[in-house]
């Protein structure tokens, strides 16, 4: 199992009592490059949060291989753009895994910050205040921070939003470079053509995994159709999900639910 980077074991993530990721099982191989696709509300961002540990599982677990460090680029950053910081200050946050709270930044660290900015095409932007950056420039700045984190596991949540075509190309090249370095990468993407061209593996989500594996197989029309049919809304009176139930497929709305929800104990979940 040394080849495994992430293991999902019966993972359920959600908000309130409603699951956004429902009973996910599976593994992410070390050095793999996986696209995560699915409709709005299908649980893509939730899965990312669960892997980073920002969101605690309602049931099951995410197991990271020992020593694996993650870098996370969220879809909705809580970044405060009015904060008085320069590009170099923001990117230097990426030195945290290396230097922590008290370690001094060395000359080498500062050189690395410069190199990271060069790599995303923002050389010379060091001194710019972050509130003067365009949306795409800010996104590249955050990419530079991920680059600097030098993580084994890289999680990018819709990194190509508000980014022009040329920059998408640059960022894809960067992702492929990381892939070449045997880093494990998961990217939430909406553009299926982009996925087909650039990502060897794909996880198609619709709260449950619809298909997961080689991109060409996963993105077959019948899978996409099934993914589209999933019901996005929560149902307040949806029946409680039972521990053994997910093994029987999705169609369990009419079943009896008279045993107790013992195993998980975190609270009720909708089906």
């Amino acid at each position: 199992m040394t080849n495994t980077c992430l293991t999902f074991r019966d993972l359920t993530l959600g908000y309130g009592s409603h699951p956004a990721i429902h009973h996910l099982d599976g593994t992410i191989r070390k050095g793999s490059l996986t696209a995560v696709v699915g409709a709005n509300g299908s649980g893509k961002s939730t899965l990312m949060k669960g892997i980073v540990g920002v969101l605690k599982p309602m049931a099951g677990e995410v197991i990271r291989a020992p020593g694996v460090r993650a870098a996370y680029l969220p879809q909705q950053s809580e970044l405060d753009r009015s904060f008085p910081a320069r590009v170099v200050d923001l990117v230097s946050l990426g030195l945290w895994p290396r230097r922590g709270l008290l370690g001094r930044y060395t000359r080498g660290d500062r050189d690395d910050v410069g190199k990271a900015l060069m790599a995303v095409g923002l050389g010379g932007f060091e001194k710019r205040p972050i509130d003067t950056l365009s949306g795409g420039q800010l996104q590249r700045t955050l990419f530079a921070r991920v680059l600097l984190q030098d993580a084994d596991l890289i999680l990018l949540d819709e990194p190509f939003n508000a980014v022009d075509a040329k920059t998408v190309g640059d960022l894809i090249a960067l992702i492929k470079h990381w892939h070449g370095e045997e880093r494990t990468i998961m990217v939430v993407v909406h553009d299926l053509d982009l996925v087909r061209q650039n990502f060897p593996e794909t996880l198609l989500l619709a709260r449950q995994p619809i298909a997961w594996g080689e991109t060409r197989e996963t993105l077959k029309p019948e899978n996409l159709l099934r993914a589209r049919r999933f019901h996005e809304a929560w149902e307040e009176n949806a029946p409680w999900c039972e521990p053994d139930e997910h093994a029987h497929g999705h169609d369990h709305h009419d079943r009896d639910h008279d045993h107790h929800d013992h195993q998980h104990g975190v609270g009720p979940r909708a089906a």
């Binding site: 980073v52 540990g53 920002v54 993650a70 870098a71 996370y72 969220p74 950053s77 809580e78 970044l79 405060d80 904060f83 008085p84 910081a85 320069r86 200050d89 923001l90 946050l93 945290w96 895994p97 922590g100 709270l101 008290l102 205040p129 921070r145 984190q149």
Partner: protein, 291 residues
């Protein structure tokens, strides 16, 4: 030259109480102004004000049991402030309610208790004393206390600086690389309380927040980086203390308001003339570079 000496130096050289007031208020600026910068950057400017009110019942309890003594009132204020800060902070961290609402709820309850307690025993003169402070009557005990508070503040800021900046700039990122997010938030709230309590003997519970916020708000108009902003805020605090004390001495004005109003003058000047102020933004726009 003699007139300048008479105006600026002599009051401090000739009178012990003026020296103490100067030392006390300068030390307060050193700790409180950087804290004010972070309060402002976290959009918690009014939380400082709320917290200042929250200190009242603790100070009043100390006053009720021990009379007008600095130590019991300070410790009481500290306890009340910490309870309110932790309570409001915890409600906002663990429920859907935002910090501004929980803070308002907690401080209003606290303030009502405080006023109630003061009115049980004190005359209105005592209440005025608690509310507005007396920087001209700082004794050795008070100065030592302020010195200790400043030392704790500066050391904590030095240790947690990086985490504090990260927590303000990008809290989600900090959570993804470290567990320090919540502890840093509470440490910061603790420092706010500590500095307000340190200020209330000198400036009173209501005005001690002024020395925290006004220099910070003024410094915001001059720089785009945190470090210089903190240094500048401290310098503005220093200048306000000196100017306020001299004003108070020469014009026989109450010293607390004089200090805060001096900071207020710097604030308005900064709005107008700061490098990110109004005039600059209006005038410089006529010309632009090619790229």
């Amino acid at each position: 030259m003699d007139t300048l000496y008479g105006l600026v130096i002599a009051p401090f050289a000739d009178f012990g109480f003026m020296q103490r007031a100067l030392i006390g208020s300068l030390m307060l600026s050193l700790g409180a102004c950087p804290i004010g910068v972070f309060l402002m950057l976290r959009r918690m400017s009014l939380s400082g004000d709320a917290m200042a009110h929250a200190i009242l019942p603790g100070a009043a309890a100390g006053f009720l049991f021990y009379g007008l003594e600095i130590l019991p009132m300070t410790i009481g204020g500290l306890i009340a402030g910490v309870i309110v800060a932790l309570g409001a902070g915890a409600v906002s961290r663990f429920t859907i309610q935002r910090e501004d609402a929980s803070m308002a709820a907690f401080y209003l309850i606290s303030l009502a208790i405080g006023v109630l307690m003061v009115s049980i025993r004190g005359s209105s003169v005592d209440l005025m004393h608690v509310l507005f402070g007396t920087v001209l009557a700082l004794n050795d005990e008070a100065l030592t206390l302020i010195g200790g508070i400043v030392a704790v503040t500066l050391v904590s800021l030095a240790i947690f600086w990086r985490a504090l900046v990260a927590e303000c700039l990008d809290p989600l990122f900090l959570r993804s690389v470290s567990r320090l997010g919540s502890p840093v938030h509470f440490i910061f709230l603790g420092l706010v309380v500590l500095n307000l309590v340190g200020g209330f003997q000198a400036l009173g519970t209501l005005l001690s927040v002024g020395l925290m916020m006004l220099p910070a708000a003024a410094a915001r108009f001059w720089t785009v980086r945190v470090e210089p902003m903190c240094v500048l805020a401290v310098l503005i605090g220093f200048a306000s203390c000196v100017a306020g004390l001299l004003l108070s001495y020469h014009a026989s004005l109450p010293s607390g308001p004089a200090i805060i109003l001096s900071a207020g003058v710097v604030y308005f000047a900064s709005i107008l003339f700061g490098t990110r102020g109004i005039l600059r933004a209006r005038i410089v726009h006529h010309r632009h570079r090619t790229a």
